[in-house]
């Protein structure tokens, strides 16, 4: 038996792109839940959410469970009455009474079930407009066709019928949807492409036809939900604006206007209607206005100059309690020096925050750093300095690259280090999911700079933020957390070293060296760790009686524990010691000295981390 086709369309005022995506994810599940069927396709766009689906002709027969049979006298009458039948109509199943309810023709239940689908959609941001339910934007019509039958959806305040509406500008009136199969044709005839995939393809083809295009801020996925009938057009702007930082131009085009840069002074945009010549002129005009605005601000900044901007930092607060941005810049200079930065890195640090006093950063806050770098370049600073200024905020997200230059890495590390230490000193440690100062991102960035960028960040420079920063290594490194925790207890002085130690311990986990060191550490720790109070304060060579003792003490004195290989060389001496020497001797002095030797062994091996944290 073939199943009847249903077409359902929810007509809306212009939905945000995010709402379109949310609806696209939920509609298949809602259709399964309320219609018992799979959506065949989804047609998602700014003014309509629609789908065709093949539904069963009748709903399934049901058996409604009532009271147990032994309560027939007491409860059956009430149950039967509630469902509009008599007690004699009740049937018995598995010891309970109940009623058979025959399935109903699907057309009878669709009004309620389609209403439930509309109300079932959940949006991250939804609104009230007086219709008694919430949606991303007002729902203005519903269209439902079961084969060629119109279904009136039972949703108050929203008109429902066999009509949709065409393109807002060219075909604003109602358009009849003849049956559940004729939806796409009917809408395409009134200037609407309901299928997102088709619109996407049309836009890509249109862009390709204009040459190589860019979308650095990922606007295409949004633009496809901003239009019902895409028309890709080209525009251009006066070449004099190319003097502006390129990223300012790109940001202006993409973030504000959703244009696609075509290189040089050309751009593409996606229109939804209107006279192409008028629309192009209008868009070019708007972009010119925005670029003029940026240019006006840019020229004012350039006239001031980066040195003067740097001076103005004195009057801008960085964090309340942590001085001005000028103080911050001075700290950055000191920190960059401590991190081994050369004179160019120091110069970059001195000017790194100057753009915080610029007008252009006030308008394009995402471009801080880049704008400062541009101004530094115009002031004649060498490329090493300007690139470091440009890269100081990297990495700014999980997948982002670290700075390409050494000076950039050192400056970026200094910036994050200062931010973390300052914020922790002021008591701004993140609590739960609240992290208003973005300290997690800073800590992860700092670890990556130390590990991937070889910046020698000393752990004792981290101050109150040390644990917080090192905690982030656990998620960052692709090794089990036990190895990170063990490495953190090592005496390795720098952050990158801790990370590398964790990695090398993990990589060596199944080698004989690791096994030997782990065993030696564990034996020494288990025995002597508990008796630490009894151990002598320092080893007394004159009390070393047995050969194995002297041999171990000697090996320990000459050992340079800088890696697993060196540590593993101690292991046979430890084993012999355990085999041949009675640690818990009756003589107090001997016992204390032997315990001390074991503790020294443990601490020497422990320079590589607390092996007892790594389960075997």
């Amino acid at each position: 038996m073939s199943m009847p086709r249903l077409l359902f369309e929810i007509g809306c005022e212009e939905l945000p792109a995010a709402a379109c995506m949310e609806a696209g994810l939920q509609l298949p599940e809602l259709a399964r839940e309320h219609l018992g069927a799979q959506t065949l396709e989804l047609f998602i766009g700014p003014r309509r959410l629609a789908f065709p689906v093949d539904v069963p002709e009748r709903t399934a027969d049901e058996w409604i469970k009532g009271p147990p049979e032994n309560l027939r006298e007491k409860a059956a009458a009430g149950f039967a009455k509630k469902h509009g039948v008599t007690v004699d109509d009740l049937t018995l199943r598995d010891g309970s009474l109940g009623i058979e309810v025959a399935g109903r023709p699907i057309a009878e239940v669709l009004p309620e079930r389609l209403a439930a689908i509309v109300k079932g959609l959940q949006f991250g941001k939804s609104m009230d407009w007086g219709a008694g339910f919430r949606f991303a934007r007002p729902v203005r019509w519903l269209c439902a066709k079961l084969e060629d039958q119109t279904i009136e959806v039972a949703l108050e305040h929203v008109p429902s019928g066999g009509f949709s509406y065409g393109h807002r500008q060219t075909h604003p009136g109602p358009v009849e949807i003849p049956n559940a199969y004729g939806y796409l044709d009917a809408l395409r005839a009134v200037g609407v492409e309901p299928d997102r995939a088709v619109r996407y393809q049309q836009i890509c083809e249109g862009l390709d036809a204009l040459g190589s295009w860019g979308d650095p801020l990922d606007k295409l996925d949004e633009v496809v939900y901003l239009v019902e009938r895409p028309r890709v057009q080209e525009g251009s702007f006066d070449e004099r604006f190319l003097r502006l930082p390129e990223r300012v131009i790109v940001q202006t085009m993409q973030s504000h206007q959703r244009y696609f840069p075509l290189g040089a002074n050309r751009f593409a945009f996606v229109a939804n209607g209107g006279d192409p010549a008028v629309v192009r002129a209008g868009n070019e005009f708007v972009l010119r206005g925005r670029l003029e605005d940026a240019e006006f601000t840019f020229e004012r900044d350039v006239a001031v100059g980066i040195e003067e901007l740097a001076k103005r930092l004195e009057s801008i607060t960085y964090l309340k309690g942590a001085g001005s941005f000028a103080d911050k810049a001075q700290r950055l200079v000191d920190t960059v020096r401590k991190l081994g930065g050369d004179e160019q890195a120091v110069e970059a640090a001195r000017l790194a925050k100057a753009d915080q006093a610029s007008e252009l950063v006030r308008e394009f806050s995402e471009l801080e750093g880049h704008i400062g770098a541009t101004y530094a370049k115009l002031a004649g600073q060498p490329e090493e300095v300007t690139r470091a200024i440009d890269e100081q905020y990297l990495p700014d997200s999980a997948g982002a690259p670290i700075p390409a230059t050494v000076a950039g890495r050192i400056l970026a590390a200094a910036d994050k280090l200062d931010h973390l230490v300052t914020a922790f000193d002021l008591g701004h440690a993140p609590t739960g999911s609240r992290d208003p100062y973005a300290l997690r991102r800073a800590a992860i960035g700092l670890n990556r700079l130390a590990l991937e960028g070889d910046v020698a960040v000393q752990r004792d420079q981290l101050g109150a933020a040390q644990d917080f920063v090192e905690d982030r290594l656990e998620g960052l490194l692709d090794v089990p957390v036990e190895f990170v925790r063990a490495a953190r207890t090592s005496t390795v002085p720098d952050l990158g070293g801790v990370a590398r130690l964790a990695q090398s311990l993990h990589a060596a986990e199944h080698t004989p060296e690791f096994e030997a060191v782990h065993t030696a550490y564990e034996r020494a720790h288990r025995l002597a760790g508990k008796a630490e109070a009894e151990a002598a304060p320092r080893l007394d060579d004159t009390l070393l009686e047995e050969g194995a003792e002297r041999e171990l003490a000697q090996a320990l004195q000459g050992a340079q524990i800088d890696g697993l290989g060196a540590a593993a060389q101690l292991a046979p001496h430890v084993n012999r010691y355990f085999d041949e020497v009675l640690v818990m001797a009756d003589d107090d002095k001997l016992r204390a000295n032997r315990l001390r030797l074991l503790l020294d062994v443990r601490d020497a091996l422990g320079r590589l981390g607390d092996f007892s944290l790594i389960p075997r």
Partner: protein, 293 residues
């Protein structure tokens, strides 16, 4: 027909919304930073009484002045404000018709409704809606209020705020606001350019910071006093005056980032109290009216 002047555009909007049934109001008599701040929108959004209005509003935003040197930024410009409470189902069609009534040939332009969620923390208000684009230019802010003065709303109003300068640029096809024809033979620049220069000087350089600080405190105190006296309407005017003093202080660079939030919080608290009192009085009046029937 001949190209419409700026004043023709204003008159066309007035006529259109009057014909629709709006009560036309006038610009407010003290400085406001947006048509929304006019009590005809802000206070009338509250409560269960339907209300439809339209009015021209010169908005005063000291920080946005550019000495008349920037063709797109001004410390004084014009909005046309419409509030429809409750929202009619065909509100977007009404809006598009109003564009045509102003002389904008909508079929020639790419008119788009681009998501824009509006928020005005100073008056404890937010809503969802769009910025309306004509060929990529923002010509209108359209918002379904969801909260005003920190309170949920009995009837959801639609607020339509036309950016008249930009609309006029599209309609008259002029490259800058200065070039707009205000009246036959008179440009926008003739009327307001020198105004922009002088006021920008005042706002950025000459406004007396100590005096403005005192004004803020005085108007805030007066607003509080009037709230205690159950007089929310004059109290609201005092808040507007305090807020304008704050905006001037902001332009003078006299308010740090941290202080800024505190000032906004003080204004918001007052607006909330006035809104609450206004609503209580509306409800009492409603009950009296019901009792009289």
């Amino acid at each position: 027909m001949a190209r419409r002047t700026y004043q023709d555009i204003i008159l066309a909007l007035e006529q259109y919304w009057a014909d629709y049934g709006c009560a036309l109001m006038t610009p407010y008599h003290t400085e406001v930073a947006a048509g929304t701040m006019n009590p005809a929108t802000l206070l009338r959004s509250l409560g269960p009484k339907p209300w439809q209005t339209g009015y021209l509003e010169p908005v005063i935003r000291p920080l946005d002045g550019r000495y008349g040197e920037n063709p797109m930024r001004f410390q004084h410009y014009f909005q046309y404000q419409v509030l429809l409470k409750p929202t009619p189902d065909n509100v977007l069609e009404l809006y598009l018709d109003s564009l045509r009534a102003m002389g904008l040939e909508t079929e020639k332009h790419d008119i788009r409704f681009v998501e824009d969620d509006w928020e005005q923390p100073t008056v404890g208000a937010w809503g969802l809606g769009w910025e309306v684009w004509a060929d990529g230019m923002e010509i209108t802010q359209f918002t379904y209020f969801q909260q005003v003065a920190g309170m949920e709303l009995d009837l959801i109003p639609a607020e339509i705020t036309y950016g008249l300068d930009r609309l006029a640029m599209v309609i008259q096809e002029k490259p800058t606001v200065f070039d707009l024809e205000w009246a036959p033979g008179i440009t926008w620049g003739d009327v307001f350019k020198e105004n922009e220069r002088q006021w920008s000087h005042y706002n950025f350089e000459d406004a007396d910071v100590d005096m403005l600080m005192r004004h803020f405190e005085d108007y805030e105190r007066e607003a509080r006093h009037l709230i205690e006296r159950d007089l929310p309407l004059p109290a609201y005017d005092m808040i507007l005056k305090a807020n304008h003093a704050f905006n001037l202080l902001d332009a003078r660079g006299a308010i740090s980032v941290t202080e800024r939030a505190a000032y906004i919080g003080r204004v918001r608290n007052l607006v909330r109290e006035v809104g609450k009192l206004y609503l209580e009085q509306q409800q009492e009046a409603g009950e009296h009216a019901a009792a009289a029937v």
